[in-house]
Subunit: 154 residues, 2 copies
């Protein structure tokens, strides 16, 4: 598992999209403005998110980005993996002379931990985060959550 600032930018941008994309697409320019991330960096991140089908782009005036699926079906792990290109940590998955030695033992331990971290993040969806915050901000605004708005009828 790799959790860098790049992953944080991606999660932040996806949160922005989940919050503001209820009625109509959100432009990268808006996200750039809202979150203080450069437009071109967002483009790079969204290129990765697009290939993993976590977002869907619409060109032309009035265009922008939609979530690729329901916010409940997008986990934090999905987002981070999309932009951080999950690398294999230990190249000794039981093979080679590494098995049995001290290195492989610690590698196994690390792999187990890494899997746990991944599972933890895979269990948290964008929808979860948004709803959790809505609970806190309940009385200020009633921002209805995305899940209903996958009626992106063209």
């Amino acid at each position: 598992m790799r959790l860098s600032t790049k992953g944080r930018y991606a999660v932040t941008a996806m949160l922005d999209l989940a919050l503001n994309g209820k009625n109509g697409p959100v432009t990268l320019a808006e996200i750039s403005e809202n979150q203080g991330i450069s437009l071109s960096y967002l483009e790079q991140l969204f290129a990765a998110l697009r290939t993993k089908e976590l977002v869907r782009g619409v060109r032309g005036p009035g265009g922008g980005y939609y979530l690729g699926k329901s916010a409940d079906d997008i986990s934090i792990a999905n987002i981070i993996c999309a932009v951080d290109e999950w690398v294999e940590f230990t190249r000794c998955g039981g093979r080679q002379n590494c098995s049995g030695g001290a290195r492989c033992l610690t590698h196994t331990l690390w792999d187990d931990l890494s899997t746990e971290i991944f599972n933890f993040l895979a269990d948290i969806s964008l929808g979860d985060l948004v709803r959790r915050n809505l609970g806190k901000k309940d009385e200020e605004e009633k921002l209805t959550v995305v899940a209903s708005s996958d009626s992106q009828a063209a």
Copy 2:
């Protein structure tokens, strides 16, 4: 929270130390050999670990490193924070014009998530990891023994 390869190296090295340091100190040369990490890089990592008192160095022949405290009192979060120098993610902790806007909302969400990840890693100790693996190893050995006796019987 920041989980980089640097943090992984540190956790791996600390695991090695926890596993092999039961009777006497472990030299960085040994860890370097076991884990395939360069000696000088280990020195840098252990300099950080030392200032956080997660390890204790003993100079001279027969010297090396001990854990700074019990393996049960060292969390994964402790280790990662020691080498990765936990940076503040969002500079708008309720202050400035950021509060209320879309940026601050997503920042709050991210901060909550970040705290959760930290708590998750703070709940896992070196001792936990080691015991977990020892449990597995015992089972494997038992299975191996059973298997071989089976094959003998057959």
